[in-house]
Amino acid sequence: MPIYRSHVLVCGGTGCASSGSNEVMDTFKEEISSLGLEEEVLVVPTGCHGMCEMGPIVVVYPEGTFYCRVTPEDVKEIAEEHLYKGRVVERLLYQAEEAPSIPNYKEIPFYGKQERVALSNCGYINPDNIEEYIARDGYAGLAKVLTEMKPEDVIEEIKTSGLRGRGGGGFPTGLKWSFCARAQGDLKYIICNADEGDPGAFMDRSILEGDPHTVLEGMLIGAYAMGASEGYIYCRAEYPLAIKRLKNAIKQAEEYGLMGEDIMGSGFSLHLHVKEGAGAFVCGEETALMASIEGRRGMPRPRPPFPANKGLWDKPTNINNVETWANVPHIIRRGGSWFASMGTEKSKGTKVFALTGKVNHTGLVEVPMGITLREIVFDIGGGILNGKKFKAVQIGGPSGGCLTEEHLDLPVSYESLAEVGAIMGSGGLVVMDEDNCMIDVAKFFLEFTQKESCGKCSPCREGTKQMLLLLNKISDGNGTMEDLQTLEDLARMVKDMSLCGLGQTAPNPILTTLRYFRDEYVAHIKDKKCFAGVCTKLVSYTIDPEKCKKCGLCAKNCPVNCISGDRQTPYFIDQEACIKCGNCYEKCPFGAIDKE
């Protein structure tokens, strides 16, 4: 086997791919070839490194040099200078504001506080090559389980680790596995929920694209522990790359005898199928997901009975999220106690978060439980964009709640979040600054859940619609205090009475923003003002006659022709006629229009 002295890892995750990383990779291959380095330098496509804002990302080993925002035009320089002559290309290194550039992966603050367990292989290996996975101890967990451990032992190890469901529920995984293991039945199923539907969440996607084998290994270990022999990975169709990688990974695992009949001569068999979702957020709910696999309309059903006893095709079934499965091989290899050594008393291990919003460094991070929000937002995230003021963090996506400044030193864990009315959810973190309107944020999430409601139960189907209408009414400046009361009552009812998690958590953004930002609601209602300047109907635009250069661009772009003026007279907006679309504000090249 030829030894390459240098590996060039080009990120092939969806984020970087859409920024052109595939062209970058092709160009590298061309340049390396033309420099005669094909025998020495290996170009490797990898999964997501997490720092997606800086993509396309290229990491060169053995130095561990971290290049950001690489374009195909940059490749020639990297090849000649770094690969051939060994001189790092400074201008492409990671550079924080007014700070020296950092060449090495490990030293970048974004990565400094992270503890990558589920993501440990993402960015390091070629996800399409099972041998690279094996080289990094892949399938050693499975081998250990099949040769040294009984199913009960495996479940004990998971219980010791304290692993909790990473899809949002936070249910102790070991306990969940024991239910399914205990269930009577000749045929049992395991399912991986890869229907990641939270808008802006891409934790599962990165794991599936970057390290599909870790999920497969986790499922193999789980199937052995629970006595399952068939499994499904339900992956949303909007992730075609993940589906491709999964199918390829399953095929390779089967070729290597690590999946299928009589694995490693142990007598244990597992067959996995990939089932594509078809565009419904509600199919991320476990019973709706199972209905979808069965070919029926994806609608949830009441529980009991629980899937562990009566799940897919009425057989005992265990469903876990992608990230949960991804942690399992590590726990088996390094021990449950190792996993439990990280985190807090009741929330063990690490969690992957999708850090987005108004921070300097958006992307995917994996941190030990118990880390504070402050560390995530400011140390890892690099603080608020453009030096603005921190306002809130929305955690848990459309099912979650918001946390404010007073919670910045809260250690992130399931219990601590529940205490303040929020949930961990699947790990979406949206950071907001002073320019975000909390009513607008609640509206954004509610628009999503209202559209995705399956329609089966009345509270969710009708309630989300009416709640959204009320929010719109308030943000348009037509709300009354009575409306606020109606909204709150309705939100509580929908939360308590809905059939499934979608409806039960859809009111959370409303309830938490009401809890912590009630004064904003009141301002919208009583003062008819949106101080963040977001709710268009509550914003007024006026032209500063001093700054106006009379170019007339605003008037030309006004859809209702409410701006008057000419070459001699400063332009003037008729406030009565103004529909607050903001077009003039956007178009004015001189910043002569004030928005308040």
Binding site: Q450, E452, C457, P459, E462
Partner: protein, 662 residues
């Protein structure tokens, strides 16, 4: 079944393990509001009305789906729940167009009733009037989606009981709508069998029966009488809603039974219509081309005279309806057979019944009932339809076939001479010439018995033979057409026996015998040999219910006979025109008696509307006639249902019959 005890609203309640909280509550007359729940259908838990608080759980649980557990403490009427339910009701009223003022269901609507119960005097949400269409494309059913609360009852009954699965939801959330097939209007549906089950279960005025919608709401009716439908041998249990002497509406009853309280389109629409038709009210005697009214005395005197004269020469005959009751048939048998010793006695569908009677004989002689209760189709793992069209012949049995095939995972095979009764869900379909049926059946019997299928030249037939052999509980549906040759019937029963098709009550066949009491007629008034249109008769007595048009053969026989006494309730042509003496008869809803049904039970038909004029039943008429004829009215020694319904020998000991015996 182990017993459990729980507390509901402070009351101690006992139930069985496996009962839901709602079932236990209802057993103890504890009221919990429901909307989407309907007994007999699988619970959905979607309307959220039946939600209860359970001690120890911080989640609210739907009592219709949650299994009751020993020691549970349940609260169903807390203030919180009351307020939540009210909010949901208000949301429903605000969402679509629930304008009660011109809804035919107002006053009889479950949504309205719940709103009133919860003191809903206003709606705090803006009325959104989400605009849906009003589907009036079906001839009989109207679906106004603006009134729909998406309870899913119609979808469930159509899928779980009727098996057609015509209805389901399209789109999601706020835009979810009940559609037919893959997005069709109800009238354009290819799968809808127009049985009206959806209208029966709809709690609001969304799905209504167009003809009956303003005839009277359930609450307006004077009486609700339980009876059965006489039109076919299924004998479906019905509830007749009577209002001012008319049958305003007919619904299926016994929702927990195997058919889930469904009716077919004939039962749903023909029966109520029958109270509105023109009646024969007094006896009439023909004078030339018209009739004159006569007294009963005169009419019966004339009839008796003609019958006696014809009978003395052996030229009297009688054709009787298969929808007569057991009691009437027994009486007629005793009069015609034992008192009059009349040879020529038959039923309207005599040829079919004769074929079945002859074909079944080798097995009835073994003391074994040659058929099983129709609902056992639901227990089968393979159903074979033989020259049958169940949707036409006994429609609810077709529902059983559909449900068993589509939902229970049973297999379906068909042998027919033209067309497939269950398109799209049949696993093996053999369409052959009518002359080949007997041959194929014989070969199949051999193939299943020996395990060798070489004689079957057809790959599908071979597959069928294997399926029959492997089936644990096959059921064969015998179409009426099969009975045109009794040997085919015998061979079909043979096939059932060799395939292991027996149930506790009889051999696993279901004969499509049509008229409501054909099974009893088979035993009482069906002659051994056909004679209609083959003999020269001086006097023919015809008793018809007037519900089904007469066959050409029987009309021919009536016109050929020199004298015709016709007893019928309705002024139907051409029947009435054949009469020389026309006697009024009680209509089906004015009679009471028993029917032998395909469901394996003897069921009672009850008087729904008492007769308005003086009517004489068959017993009274023949009492007078026999008296006038000077004949004794002997009691019949034929007991129709007993004969038919008991296997004296266990069915699994049935022996196949050799064809020469027939």
């Amino acid at each position: 079944m182990s017993e459990i005890t729980l507390t509901i609203d402070g009351k101690e309640c006992k139930g069985n393990a496996g009962d839901t909280i709602l079932q236990v509550a209802q057993k103890h007359d504890i009221y919990i509001p429901t909307l989407c729940y309907l007994e007999g259908l699988s619970p959905m838990g979607s309307c959220r009305m039946c939600v209860v608080e359970v001690e120890g759980s911080n989640k609210l649980l739907t009592s219709c789906t949650t299994p009751a557990q020993d020691g549970m403490v349940v609260f169903s009427k807390t203030e919180k729940l009351f307020n939540y339910r009210k909010q949901i009701l208000e949301l429903l009223f605000a969402g679509r167009n629930h304008f009660c003022m011109f809804c035919s269901q107002s006053g009889d609507c479950e949504l309205q009733r719940l709103a009133i119960e919860h003191g809903m005097d206003s709606v705090r949400y803006p009325y959104l009037y989400h605009d849906f269409d009003n589907d009036a494309t079906s001839e009989h059913l109207q679906m106004d989606h603006n009134r729909c609360i998406l309870c899913g009852r119609c979808i469930r009954v159509c899928a779980e009981k009727v098996g057609a699965h015509t209805l389901d939801l399209e789109q999601r959330g706020w835009n979810a709508k009940v559609i037919s097939d893959l997005g069709e209007m109800l009238g354009n549906s290819e799968t809808c069998v127009s049985c009206g089950a959806c209208a029966q279960v709809c709690p609001t005025g969304t799905i209504t029966l167009r003809e009956f919608v303003y005839r009277g709401r359930r609450n307006d009716c004077d009486e609700v009488v339980e009876s059965i439908c006489p039109l076919c041998s299924m004998g479906c249990e019905i509830k007749g809603y009577v209002r001012t002497g008319s049958l305003a509406r007919v619904e299926g009853s016994n929702l927990e039974g195997p058919d889930g309280g469904q009716l077919c389109h004939k039962g749903r629409w023909w029966l109520p219509e029958s109270t509105e038709r023109e009646r024969v009210s007094v006896p009439m005697i023909r004078e030339g081309s018209t009739f004159r009214e006569a007294s009963w005395e005169e009419a019966l005197e004339l009839a008796a005279g003609k019958l006696k004269a014809a009978n003395s020469k052996g030229r009297a005959g009688a054709i009787v309806s298969g929808m007569s009751t057991d009691e009437e048939l027994t009486m007629l048998n005793s009069v015609f057979k034992s008192s009059m010793n009349m040879e020529y006695m038959d039923c309207f569908s005599g040829n079919v019944l004769r074929g079945f009677k002859k074909g079944f004989k080798p097995f009835t002689e073994q003391g074994i009932r040659p058929f099983t209760a129709a609902h056992n189709i639901l227990e089968s793992d393979l159903v074979l339809t033989l020259e049958a069209d169940p949707q036409e012949e006994a429609p609810v049995s077709a529902s059983y076939v559909r449900v068993n095939t589509v939902r229970n995972g049973g297999k379906l095979a068909n042998i027919s001479t033209g067309g497939t009764p269950f398109k799209g869900i049949t696993d093996v379909d053999l369409n052959i010439g009518s002359e080949d049926v007997l041959d194929l059946l014989t070969k199949l019997v051999e193939a299943v018995k020996t395990g060798k299928s070489e004689t079957l030249e057809n790959a599908d037939a071979e597959r069928l033979a294997i399926m029959l052999k492997d089936a644990e509980k096959p059921v064969i549906v015998l179409g009426g057409q099969l009975a045109d040759d009794a040997r085919k019937v015998t061979q079909a029963v043979n096939l059932a026996i060799v395939s292991g098709g027996t149930f506790d009550d009889g051999i696993a066949t279901v004969p499509m015998v049509r008229s409501g009491n054909s099974l009893a007629a088979l035993n009482t008034v069906v002659s051994d040999e056909p004679w209609v249109n083959e003999v020269d008769l001086d006097c023919l007595f015809v008793s018809s219910t007037g519900l089904v048009p007469e066959t050409p053969e029987s009309l021919e026989a009536m016109s050929m006979s020199r004298f015709c006494i016709i007893q019928t309730p309705y002024m139907v042509n051409p029947l009435v025109n054949m009469a020389d003496v026309l006697l009024p008869a009680p209509a089906w809803y004015e009679r009471s008696g028993h029917f032998c049904t395909l469901e394996g039970e003897r069921r009672k038909i009850n008087v729904l509307v008492p007769p308005k004029t003086e009517l004489k039943g068959l017993s009274e008429i023949f009492g007078t006639i026999t008296e006038k004829m000077g004949l004794p009215m002997n009691s019949s020694d034929v007991r129709p249902c007993e004969n038919i319904y008991t296997s004296k020998v266990s069915p699994d000991k049935a022996r196949t019959a050799v064809l020469e015996e027939v």
